[in-house]
Every structure is written in structure tokens, then in C-alpha cells.
């Protein structure tokens, strides 16, 4: 039996697919980096413990080099591999850059946190590298199978890391909750994908898109589309699939929370953009109303619950839910201007990464002194840490979308797509978003109020000591956040002005 099968296999000649090594270099370099970190850790153990974060961040920067060279190779883009299943274009390069830099900042955030706590830290950095490899793959994946593999590569390390503080019950809860919900979401998504494959006979997004353009409303297809999108809804923590986020965010180690809130969420959006834009353009009648509702609900519910939070990490979690709502909004009107919708989301992701990572950096810095995540523990910060207060204020106002700090441009781009063509639903969503930005401003202002206007509890004015790696993270994010709203604005706009769908 086996022999017969083997005999058959031998008759089919195996052609190795052409691999564009330059295009695959970022992923390969990062993989190699992760492997080197593992080996170094295995050989020298404790002696090199302090070097591991530096080594990891170095691999992120090295992996950034081919991203830049590929970008400057402008004329050759897009580069496709594996029969169109893997594409490196401007869109994916911008996002690869974003993920690598986010990873770099997250390592900076983690350095002292991991060193000073009683953790296994080199494994942690290996897992972060692995997860970021998944994100890099995600940006280029144009095929259901590679998208799914990428999503799992992003998520599984994150499940582990969420439970990293293993002596803390809440961290265990965080990891378990995140994993159960994540696996459940993957299941639903896989079910949707399997139907898509069954209907179209291909796993390539473009082929699926071609097969689904009939325009007819077939219940099976609708089901597949809805299931797939709901799966991504879990990943980006859109309402009503957001319930895992606050508990996971609160229980996980804070640097990892930053990772989940920024990088992991961005990866979910990347997958969503690719699937919606390439596979579902013919199903706009199903996708748009669904995403409209998800977007409006995420903004409103996220903001309303965020207002009631007394813990800053939970507040940032709910604010992240609301921000996901803004980011989903352009997809609710994607059919008329798919490219602009994608650009708006990527712009949002880039600016959101800087300002949210920055906010978490401040949370980590403050917790070093107060050992608390309560918003009330921020009282009177202006009197003992004026620099950190100003920096945090910049992040908060950026999150609220107030010029001149970066966040306003992200919101502006979303509004710009929504109001295009005078589409009633789009304008209505823009108005919902506008009202929501006021709700959101309220709770960001509450923190600003604590820092600036309220006096310090017990008159405790001991300064906050910020280690150098955290300082670097703060400096990077705050400079970017401020410049993104003013001087660098034109450059960012040019960077995200790509054409995805030809």
C-alpha cells in the first residue's frame, strides 16, 4: 500500500518554488536572531542574562535593514512568491517596519521589568521574537493558510507570556482566559475559512475574491464571511468579542499588555484588511453593515465602560477597545475606496502604536514607584515628576485626538474616508465617532486631572527613578507622537499613501 503511494509520489516531479531571499530576509533574520538568543542562553545561562534583551533588540534592528533596502528598491515592488500567496509591497513593508520598531520598544519596556522580577527572561524574549515573526508573515500573507499560520504564530507565544507571572493568580487567569477565547475565535474563523475554501476551491484570497463576486446572496457564503470576520473581531477585541481584553490586560505583565494592546492588535487588523480587501470585495453588502455595527458598538461601549474604570491598565484596555472601533470604521465603507480605507487604518496603527506604547511606558515607570495601577495613584505627579507628567499628557491628548500631538491625524484620516462620497452611513459613523471622541476625552482628562490638579497623596514627593531603557522607550515614543502631529505629518502621510488593490 505504502509502496504504491510512494511510487506515485516519485512520478510527480518536485519543483522547488522560487524564493526571493531579499524579500524574505526580514522574517529569516528575525528567526535566526531568535535562534541565536536561544543558543546563547543555553550555553552561557545566567552569565549572559543581562545581555539577552540587548541581543533581542539588536535582532529587531538588524531585521529592519532589509525592510529599508526593500523599500528603497521601489521599482521592484511588489515582489510575489509562492504563486501569489506571499506578497511584499509598500503596504506590507510599512507594517513590517511598524512591527519591528514596536517589538524594539517592547523589549526596552520589558528589560528592567523582567530583570527585577523573578522571571524566566530569555524565554520571554524568544517568544516575543517568535510572535513578531508571525506578524511579519501576516503582513505579506495573501492566502488563508498562511494567514492562519501567522495568526497562530502571533497568538500562541502571547498566550504563554500572558501567564508569565506564574505565582500570581490573576496572571494565570489572564493567560487562561486569553487562550480559551483565542482558541475559540480561531475555531470559528477556521470554520468560516473552510467554507470559503469549499465554495471557491482555493485558499488564495484573490481567487476567493473572484469566486465570491457573483453578487448573489448565498446563505452559506454569508455564513462563511460572518464567521471569518467574527474570528478577527476577537483578535482585535471589538465589541461584543472584547470580554477577554480587560482581564488579560490587567493580569498580564505590563510590558506584555503593551505588546497585546499594540502589536498583537495591529496584527489582527492587518489580517482583517487583507481578507476584507482581497477576498470579500464582492460581499460588501454583508461585510460593511457588519463592520459598521462592530465599529460603532466598539467605540461606544469601549468608551462608556472606560469612563468607569479606576485602574489605569483596565482603562487603557477599554480605551483600546474604543480605538479598535475607530480603526474598524474605514472598513465599514471600504468598497468605494479600498485603498484609502487601508491607508487610513495603517496610519492609525502607526500613530496608535507610538502613543499607546508610550502610555504603557509611563504606566510601567509610575508603577516602579507607586506599585499600583490605580488612577488615583497618579495624583500630584506634576509636583514630583514634571517631565514624566508632560510626556504622559502628550500621550493622553494624542489618544484623545487633540492637535498638535499625533493622534488627531489618525482620526482625521478615518473621518476623511468616512465622509468621502457623502455616503449616509459613512457620515453617520463619522458623527458617532465624533461624539465618541468627546466621551473618550473625558477619561483621558481624568488622568491628566490627577497628575496636574490634585495634590500628591501623603505628600509623598519622592522622585520616580526611570532606568535608561525605559527612558529610551519614552523618548522614542514621545518624540514620534509629537512630531507625527506637526512636522512629520507630511512624511507619514506619504508613507501610508500606498495602493493595495490594483
Amino acid at each position: 500500500m505504502l509502496a504504491a503511494i510512494l511510487a506515485q509520489v516519485e512520478q510527480v516531479p518536485f519543483n522547488r518554488p522560487d524564493i526571493d531571499w531579499h524579500a524574505a530576509a526580514p522574517e529569516l533574520l528575525l528567526l535566526a536572531g531568535g535562534a541565536i538568543v536561544t543558543i546563547v542562553d543555553l550555553i552561557w545561562l545566567e552569565r549572559v542574562r543581562k545581555l539577552i534583551p540587548t541581543l533581542t533588540s539588536l535582532t529587531f534592528l538588524i531585521a529592519l535593514i532589509p525592510v529599508i533596502t526593500l523599500w528603497n528598491d521601489g521599482g521592484e515592488l511588489p515582489r510575489t512568491m509562492f504563486d501569489g500567496a506571499y506578497v511584499v509591497d509598500e503596504y506590507s513593508l510599512v507594517l513590517k517596519g511598524l512591527f519591528l520598531l514596536s517589538g524594539y520598544v517592547i523589549v526596552l519596556l520589558s528589560t528592567n521589568y523582567m530583570l527585577e522580577g523573578d522571571y524566566y527572561d530569555s524565554e520571554y524574549y524568544q517568544l516575543i521574537s517568535a510572535s513578531i515573526v508571525g506578524m511579519l508573515v501576516m503582513t505579506s500573507a495573501r492566502d488563508l493558510v498562511s494567514i492562519f499560520v501567522a495568526i497562530e504564530l502571533v497568538s500562541i507565544p502571547a498566550y504563554l507570556m500572558a501567564a508569565w507571572r506564574k505565582r500570581d493568580l490573576r496572571s494565570n487567569e489572564a493567560g487562561l482566559k486569553y487562550m480559551l477565547m483565542g482558541v475559540f475565535a480561531s475555531g470559528i474563523m477556521l470554520y468560516g475559512m473552510s467554507i470559503l475554501y469549499g465554495v471557491s476551491g482555493s485558499t488564495k484570497l484573490v481567487d476567493i475574491g473572484a469566486a465570491l463576486t457573483t453578487g448573489e446572496s448565498v446563505p452559506l457564503i454569508t455564513l462563511a464571511v460572518v464567521f471569518t470576520i467574527i474570528g478577527f473581531g476577537f483578535k482585535v477585541s471589538a465589541v461584543p468579542f472584547h470580554t477577554w481584553a480587560p482581564d488579560t490586560y490587567e493580569g498580564a505583565p505590563t510590558p506584555l499588555t503593551a505588546f497585546l494592546a499594540v502589536a498583537s492588535k495591529a496584527a489582527g487588523f492587518v489580517a482583517l484588511i487583507s481578507v476584507v480587501l482581497f477576498a470579500f470585495p464582492g460581499q460588501a453588502a454583508v461585510v460593511e453593515p457588519l463592520l459598521w455595527v462592530l465599529s460603532a458598538a466598539s467605540m461606544t461601549v469601549g468608551n462608556l465602560i472606560a469612563m468607569r474604570q479606576s485602574n489605569i491598565v483596565r482603562m487603557l484596555a477599554y480605551s483600546g477597545v474604543a480605538q479598535a472601533g475607530y480603526m474598524l470604521a474605514p472598513l465599514a465603507v471600504f468598497s468605494s475606496r479600498p485603498d484609502q480605507a487601508a491607508s487610513a487604518i495603517v496610519t492609525y496603527l502607526v500613530i496608535y502604536a507610538a502613543m499607546n506604547l508610550g502610555a504603557f511606558a509611563v504606566v510601567i515607570a509610575v508603577a516602579r514607584k507607586t506599585r499600583s495601577g490605580e488612577i488615583s495613584s497618579y495624583a500630584g505627579m506634576f509636583s514630583y515628576a514634571p517631565g514624566l507628567t508632560v510626556v504622559m499628557t502628550a500621550f493622553l491628548f494624542s489618544l484623545a485626538g487633540i492637535p498638535p500631538v499625533g493622534g488627531w491625524w489618525a482620526k482625521f484620516e478615518v473621518f476623511r474616508v468616512l465622509t468621502a462620497d457623502g455616503n449616509t452611513w459613512g457620515v453617520a459613523l463619522a458623527v458617532v465617532a465624533a461624539v465618541n471622541s468627546v466621551l473618550a476625552a473625558y477619561y483621558y482628562l481624568v488622568i491628566a486631572k490627577q497628575m496636574w490638579f490634585v495634590s500628591a497623596p501623603n505628600d509623598d514627593k519622592a522622585p520616580i527613578v526611570i532606568p535608561s531603557s525605559l527612558q529610551a522607550a519614552l523618548a522614542l515614543t514621545v518624540v514620534f507622537t509629537i512630531l507625527a502631529g506637526t512636522v512629520l505629518l507630511g512624511q507619514i502621510a506619504n508613507l501610508t499613501d500606498f495602493s493595495l488593490v490594483n
Partner: protein, 513 residues
């Protein structure tokens, strides 16, 4: 020199305060005197650049945009860094350039609790850039950015240096304004798309809207979004509720700037953006705006009569005065809009001055409760007379600046622009005229209870109650002089804005015929 001013003058003026900010950031907080000096020098230098622009301004061609700078900024959306001055923005820029240095001089010995001159003055200079930028921006995105930049410093000024209820007032001020400006942004974007040419240039948009078929319902809605943004900032009834709180809780300097300049951002938005770009919708909205304006006049005046706190009374009087300004704008006639702009400047000077006086009274008496004050004319005669003079200006006494902001508005409502109902606006006129009587009532009543009579027992021998000091004189003299000068020579201002305003009003009139 002229070349330099033409090519860089406005940018230099707008961003010079930020140079001061950068300098002050580098200097430690302890050196208060140095901070004050830098802030003052910066604001004076800004005023000097502004004065050079005002001198070189071609007054014979005031409807043209002068000293225009137009540089690429965000190419992807065609938003440009485009700034210029014309006859409409000039009076307001001049007002801003005047008020900020005076407020800084006043701050010399009046840094409010809890101190920290460095942060306070840095915020003041940032505010200065925001205000100047808003008045010169010729691009909607740029306008939006400057319009919002103003929010932050004022929020902190109220929240950190304000009165006992400052937290509530600061957040309320912020959220109200933000709500309006978010809808305003949606309107700006809607304009960007419906005109089909994807530009944010104000002048081009006005031309494009005139030449494109845009349904009047769409125009009405877009105007509505702007109405929310500008109307809340003015503030118009029923969005005025943030104003009394913000004014009362803000430190003196904050109140002065808020009254003198910040409220004008809203009315300026109507005159600069909403009406020229959407004249058709302006005609549709005018009866509503006029109606809310006269409700504001009466409501503000009645509110004043009910106040027991001097500062809150002045705040409510702002609601009434801005009602006149909005009524003038709602007539959509040359005369009405000119009067409205005059009213903006006059209100800026007069109410700003009243808040200065209130601040000084508070400092001496440690209270602003009207029934505890009294006899100011015997204890601090100069302060009392300044209050009397400014109150007279505020109630619209002929010969002082306030008169030219109110009387012509009432006259203009007799015959509004074509397309508007004469009967309705004549009704508004009558109500507005009644409002002046109420204004006289509350201001005279205020004066009578605080300045006349004998000092109350608790303050009779208080050594803290001294007369106007040098810093106060330096800060106040220019304002008092201008109130008088503009009262006698209103033509100074009317001539500057005549051409651009009549061009705008003619465009509206052409629609109505």
C-alpha cells in the same frame, strides 16, 4: 525688509512665542524674574512683528489677502500651510497682539496660586501662538489645528491656577469645545469631498461651492456642523453653560484672555469660514442664529441680574454681548457684520478690562461677593472709577467703544439681507433693544453696590485695600485709552473691514434676489 515681511512676516509672528517657550523650558523654575522677562520680551517682539505688518498693510486693498504664505504641508490631502491677513482678521490679530503682553505685565506681581510662573507663562505663550494662528489660517486643516491648540493651555490654566471649583470647570470647558470641534471637523471634511476638488483652501472652497451643484440640504447640514463648532465656542445659547463656570474659576489672566480673544474664535469662524463658503445655508440658518442670539441677549442679562458674584456677573454679561455680535452676523448685511466685528473687538477690550478689575478686587478684598463689597470709590477711588468707566463702556454709552458694537447691530436688524424675513428681524431688533435696557440695569446695579456707598464694616480699615499699582496701570492704560479712542473714532476699525465685509455681504445678497 518689505520682502522679508511679505515672505515670512506672519509665520514669524505666529511662531515667535514658541521660541520664547523653548528658551523658558531650558531655564529652571526658580528664576521667576527671568521667566517673566523672557515671556514679556517674547510677547513684545511678537507684537513688534505684528505692528510692522500692520504698518505695511495696504489699507486701500483690505479685502485682498496680504502677506500670504502658502507652503506645502500634507500633500496627500492637499492641506497646505497657508496664512494671510486681510481686513477681517486684522482687527482680531491686533487685539490679540495687544492683550497678551498686557496680561503678562499684569502677571508680574499677580501669579495666581499655586505659583510656578514658568509653567504659567509657557502656557500663555503657547496660547498666543494658537490664537494668532487661528486668525491668520487660510486652510481649514490648519485652522482646525490652531483652533484646537488653544484648548490645551486654557484647560491647564483653569485647572491648575483656577478657583475652588476649577476641576469641574476645566473639564466642562474642554469637553464642550471638543464636542463642537469634532463635528466641525466632519463638516470640513464633508466640504472637502462635496466640492469634488479635494482642497481645504478657504477661498477656493468658496468659489467651488458657488460653482458646484450641491443640494441645499447637504449645505444646510455642513453649516450645521460648523454651527456646532463655532456656536459652542462663542458661546451661543443654549451651549453657553460652560462659560460662566470657566470664567468664574479661571485665574484673572485666563478670564481676560478667554473673554478678550478666545470667544472671538467662534464668531470669527462664522465670518471667515461658515458664511463666505456656504452663503446659501447661511441664509437658511440666519433666522435660527438670530433667534438664539436674542435669547442669549435676554437670558444673559437676566442671568446677570441674578448673580451675587461679581466675576460670574461679568461672565453672564459676555453671553449677552456675544448675543449682539451673533445677531449682527445673522443679519448678513455689510453693516451688521461690520458692527459684529467691531463688537468683537470692543467686547474684547471692555470685558477683558472688567475681568482685570474683578481680579484686582478679588486680590484686595479676597471676595467677589457683591453684597460684601461697597464703597470702593472712597477706599480705592482710581479702581472704582476704572470700574465705572468700563461699566459705562460695557452698557453701550455713546462715545465709548461698546456703543459701536451694539447700536449698529440693532439698526442693522431693521433691514436684514435679502431672503431674510424683515418682520422676524425687526422683532429681534426690539428684543435686542430691550436687552440694552437690561444691560444698563445690571451694570449700574453692580456699580452702585460695589463702588458707591460706604465701605462695609469688615473692610473699612483693611490695609490690604490699596489703589491701582504701577503694574496694573501699565497693563490697563492701553486698554482704557483704546476704549475711548475707538469710541470717538470708530472709523479706524470700520474702514479696515469695510471692503472684505461688503464683498461677503454682496455675495449673500446676490443669492437672496
Amino acid at each position: 525688509m518689505t520682502d522679508f515681511l511679505n515672505n515670512n512676516g506672519i509665520s514669524l509672528m505666529v511662531f515667535l512665542p514658541l521660541v520664547g517657550v523653548a528658551l523658558m523650558m531650558a531655564i529652571p523654575e526658580k528664576q521667576e524674574e527671568l521667566h517673566k522677562l523672557i515671556a514679556l520680551v517674547t510677547s513684545l517682539a511678537t507684537a513688534a512683528v505684528g505692528a510692522a505688518l500692520l504698518v505695511k498693510f495696504n489699507y486701500d486693498n483690505s479685502s485682498a489677502l496680504q502677506f500670504a504664505i502658502d507652503k506645502s504641508w500634507i500633500d496627500v490631502v492637499n492641506a497646505r500651510y497657508s496664512v494671510a491677513l486681510d481686513g477681517i482678521s486684522l482687527p482680531l490679530v491686533a487685539l490679540t497682539l495687544l492683550i497678551t503682553p498686557l496680561v503678562i505685565i499684569y502677571s508680574w506681581d499677580h501669579i495666581p496660586e499655586p505659583g510656578n510662573a514658568k509653567a504659567f507663562l509657557i502656557l500663555m505663550l503657547v496660547l498666543h501662538t494658537g490664537m494668532l494662528g487661528t486668525f491668520v489660517a487660510q486652510d481649514l486643516v490648519l485652522f482646525f489645528v490652531f483652533f484646537e491648540v488653544v484648548l490645551l493651555p486654557m484647560y491647564f490654566m483653569i485647572g491648575v491656577w483656577g478657583g475652588p471649583d476649577r476641576l469641574y470647570a476645566a473639564i466642562k470647558f474642554f469637553l464642550f469645545t471638543l464636542f463642537g470641534s469634532a463635528l466641525m471637523l466632519v463638516s470640513f471634511l464633508a466640504l472637502y469631498w462635496v466640492t469634488g476638488s479635494q482642497t481645504f483652501d478657504m477661498q477656493r472652497l468658496a468659489e467651488l461651492v458657488a460653482n458646484t451643484e450641491i443640494s441645499s440640504r447637504t449645505q444646510w447640514l455642513i453649516f450645521g456642523g460648523m454651527f456646532m463648532g463655532f456656536g459652542i465656542k462663542v458661546p451661543m445659547f443654549p451651549f453657553h453653560t460652560w462659560l460662566p463656570d470657566a470664567h468664574t474659576q479661571a485665574p484673572t489672566q485666563g478670564s481676560v484672555i478667554l473673554a478678550a480673544v478666545l470667544l472671538k474664535l467662534g464668531t470669527y469662524g462664522f465670518v471667515r469660514i461658515a458664511i463666505p463658503i456656504l452663503p446659501e445655508a447661511a441664509v437658511d440658518w440666519a433666522p435660527i442664529i438670530g433667534g438664539l442670539a436674542v435669547i442669549g441677549i435676554i437670558y444673559g442679562a437676566l442671568g446677570c441680574l441674578a448673580q451675587t458674584d461679581m466675576k460670574r456677573l461679568i461672565a453672564f454679561s459676555s453671553v449677552a454681548h456675544m448675543g449682539y455680535v451673533m445677531l449682527g452676523i445673522a443679519t448678513l448685511t455689510t453693516f451688521g457684520i461690520q458692527a459684529a466685528i467691531f463688537g468683537m473687538v470692543a467686547h474684547g477690550l471692555i470685558t477683558g478690562m472688567l475681568f482685570f478689575v474683578a481680579g484686582s478686587v478679588k486680590e484686595r478684598y479676597h471676595t467677589l461677593e457683591i453684597k460684601r463689597l461697597g464703597g470702593m470709590l472712597t477706599q480705592a477711588p482710581k479702581l472704582g472709577w476704572i470700574l465705572a468707566f468700563t461699566s459705562m463702556a460695557s452698557l453701550g454709552l455713546p462715545g465709548l467703544a461698546g456703543f459701536w458694537g451694539e447700536f449698529p447691530v440693532i439698526l442693522a436688524s431693521y433691514s436684514p439681507a435679502p431672503g431674510l424675513s424683515d418682520g422676524l428681524f425687526r422683532f429681534y431688533m426690539v428684543v435686542a433693544a430691550l436687552g440694552t435696557v437690561l444691560a444698563a440695569a445690571y451694570l449700574l446695579w453692580l456699580l452702585q453696590r460695589t463702588a458707591f456707598g460706604t465701605p462695609s464694616e469688615e473692610f473699612a480699615d483693611d490695609p490690604n485695600i490699596t489703589d491701582v499699582n504701577t503694574f496694573e496701570w501699565i497693563a490697563w492704560a492701553p486698554i482704557l485709552a483704546l476704549i475711548l479712542i475707538l469710541g470717538f473714532l470708530p472709523g479706524l476699525l470700520f474702514d479696515v473691514m469695510n471692503d472684505p465685509v461688503s464683498a461677503m455681504a454682496d455675495a449673500v445678497a446676490a443669492l437672496g434676489k
